[in-house]
């Protein structure tokens, strides 16, 4: 499990929300899209994956969202790029377990570990999972 201090975790979240590198429309063709919105937050996002063969070769998103949604979706995009569908599914599963305070395999979550405290603000779990739920849906659609 990576050891990150609270300050490091905060700065990772702020970096990804103030400057989300994956927040843009897809460059080119061959992307699948899923629209996500939250009924308790303003979050309104389109998430795009490019899946080639067994691999997710690109991921990006566009829309309006709160700090937690923006940063968690941006980090999801970073982590999922280059993964096989199976690896991605395992990672998503571990992330969801972390959200719900179950035992999880921290090794695969890398920077996404910064959302480990989301359960302290239970109303924001939906924000922290919106991009990750989109990822599940996009992978499910590819089966």
């Amino acid at each position: 499990m990576p050891i990150l201090s609270n300050d490091m975790m905060r700065s990772i979240i702020m970096d990804h929300s103030s400057n989300p590198m994956n927040k843009h429309l897809p460059n080119g063709e061959g992307y699948d899209k899923v629209h996500m919105h939250s009924d308790n937050c303003i979050d309104d996002l389109d998430i795009y994956f490019k899946v080639e063969g067994d691999k997710i070769t690109d991921a990006c998103f566009e829309g309006v969202a709160c700090t937690i949604s923006l940063s968690s979706t941006d980090i999801m995009c970073d982590l999922i790029k280059g993964k096989t569908k199976k690896e991605a599914e395992y990672m998503i599963e571990q992330y969801q377990k972390m959200m719900h305070e179950e035992d999880f395999d921290a090794d695969v979550l890398e920077d996404a570990i910064v959302f480990i405290n989301t359960s302290k603000q239970a109303a924001r779990i939906r924000c922290a999972t919106i991009g990750w739920n989109a990822a599940s849906q996009l992978l499910e659609d590819k089966k």
């Binding site: 700090t67 302290k120 603000q121």
Partner: protein, 410 residues
């Protein structure tokens, strides 16, 4: 003299409750309100001491329930100044507006008729009308606003601009910005043009004297839970001749005189013809206790006190440099604001971490971004039991600010 301490003692939710490990400060009263012991007790008594259905039996218990339901109908009528037969029980404000839409508008509107709304309306006073337009070919138009407000002049202009306005439907007090409209003036304009005027009273009836006869509106709708009553019950107040002319909406037991195999149904008169099925009896009894509670303080005193709270909060908030307030001139206990550069939900989450309950987002008025220059706001809303100390805690936490991520790393 407003006896706040005595009032607060009557609410179990104000008795040492915590959120996030700190004392709870509840500032989401435009959404729903706490219930005094008297309301809880009235509901409990119905379930413990005299449970029976209404108008369904010949025994004493049933008679008692009938009398109780009628007593609450009278209390509501007195409270809003209508006749007792002009009070229809509904599941809340939303169902009351749907009842007008399906009971009145669906059978009275035709293609190219116009329903006049505003961009500040709550979903409950927008979407039923959209549905009626889909079904009839009528159209929704939006009144122009004057400095974010609906004015009599702008309503007059709308009548000049659009032919065939048949229904005007506005919130008496906006649930986002707290502005009160001149309901009486607008009703007069609507009637001069043979239109009916629907007043969504969800945010006014609990806070300001709302006089159905004096305002001369055609319908008023409201919910009990926003005025210390239980959830799941509310009322439609309608002019009796309009109620009588309205088509049936929900049908079933309790709303008809008789029906036959040739599909002939003779409905009861209004208001009973709209009350199919077993009513929310416990809710209605609680609603009656809520009205008694409000009357025991006095609606004018409540409004006066809320204005005092709003002035107090605004004078403190004005000292916060990075807080933008969208409705400083609103005469209500609703304050809509944002912190510069902070997303509304993030601010609300930070406040949650300090035990302060506020709402963020669009507050179901999803066209509000056309009126104010932001996609979402934080809303703090007060009620008769809110204390200046609640406001101090709220504003002090806003001044302290802190990083929005403090909520996750405390």
């Amino acid at each position: 003299m407003y006896k706040l301490d005595e009032i607060r003692k009557q609410f179990p939710m104000l008795n040492n409750k915590t959120m996030q490990g700190v004392p709870l400060v509840f500032l989401d009263n435009a959404s729903t309100t706490f219930k005094p012991y008297s309301v809880i007790k009235a509901i409990e008594e119905y379930y413990s001491d005299y449970t029976a259905n209404h108008h369904r039996g010949d025994y004493d218990l049933c008679y008692k329930v009938d009398m109780k339901v009628q007593e609450v109908r009278r209390k509501i009528a007195n409270f809003i100044n209508s006749d007792v037969n002009e009070v229809v029980f509904t599941s809340g404000d939303t169902e009351a507006l749907n009842l007008i839409a399906y009971g009145y508008a669906l059978s009275n509107l035709k293609k190219d008729d116009v329903i006049l709304l505003s961009l500040e309306e709550h979903a409950s006073n927008t979407l039923p009308w959209y549905r009626i337009c889909e079904l009839t070919g009528a159209k929704v138009k939006f009144v122009e606003l004057e400095d974010k407000k609906i004015t009599v002049n702008k309503v007059k202009e709308a009548f000049n601009k659009y032919q065939n306005i048949k229904i005007v439907s506005f919130a008496h007090v906006s649930n986002v910005l707290g502005y009160e409209i001149d309901a009486k003036g607008i009703a007069k304009v609507a009637h001069e043009h043979n239109a009916i005027f629907v007043l969504d009273g969800a945010q006014s009836v609990p806070h300001i004297k709302t006089d159905f006869k004096d305002l001369d509106v055609d319908f008023i709708t409201f919910s009990a839970h926003k005025m210390c009553g239980p959830t799941g019950v509310g009322a439609l107040i309608g002019k009796y001749d309009l109620l009588q002319k309205m088509s049936l909406f929900k049908t079933g037991g309790g709303m008809n005189v008789k029906f036959s195999k040739d599909m002939n149904v003779i409905p009861l008169d209004a208001p009973y013809k709209f009350e199919a099925g077993t009513l929310n009896i416990a809710g209605i009894i609680g609603f009656g206790a809520a009205i008694d509670f409000i009357n025991s303080i006095g609606i004018d005193s409540i409004h006066q006190y809320e204005l005092e709270l709003a002035d107090y909060a605004l004078s403190k908030l004005e000292k916060c440099k990075d807080i933008v307030i969208y409705n400083k001139d609103s005469k209500s206990g609703i304050i809509a604001f944002n912190r510069v550069g902070v997303f509304a939900q993030d601010e609300a989450t930070l406040l949650n971490s300090k035990g302060i309950a506020v709402r963020s987002g669009q507050h179901c008025a999803k066209m509000i971004d056309e009126v104010i220059d932001t996609v979402a706001t934080v809303r703090a809303s007060f009620y008769l039991y809110t204390s200046k100390k609640d406001i101090d805690v709220f504003v002090d936490n806003l001044i302290d600010g802190g990083d929005i991520l403090d909520a996750y790393f405390k």
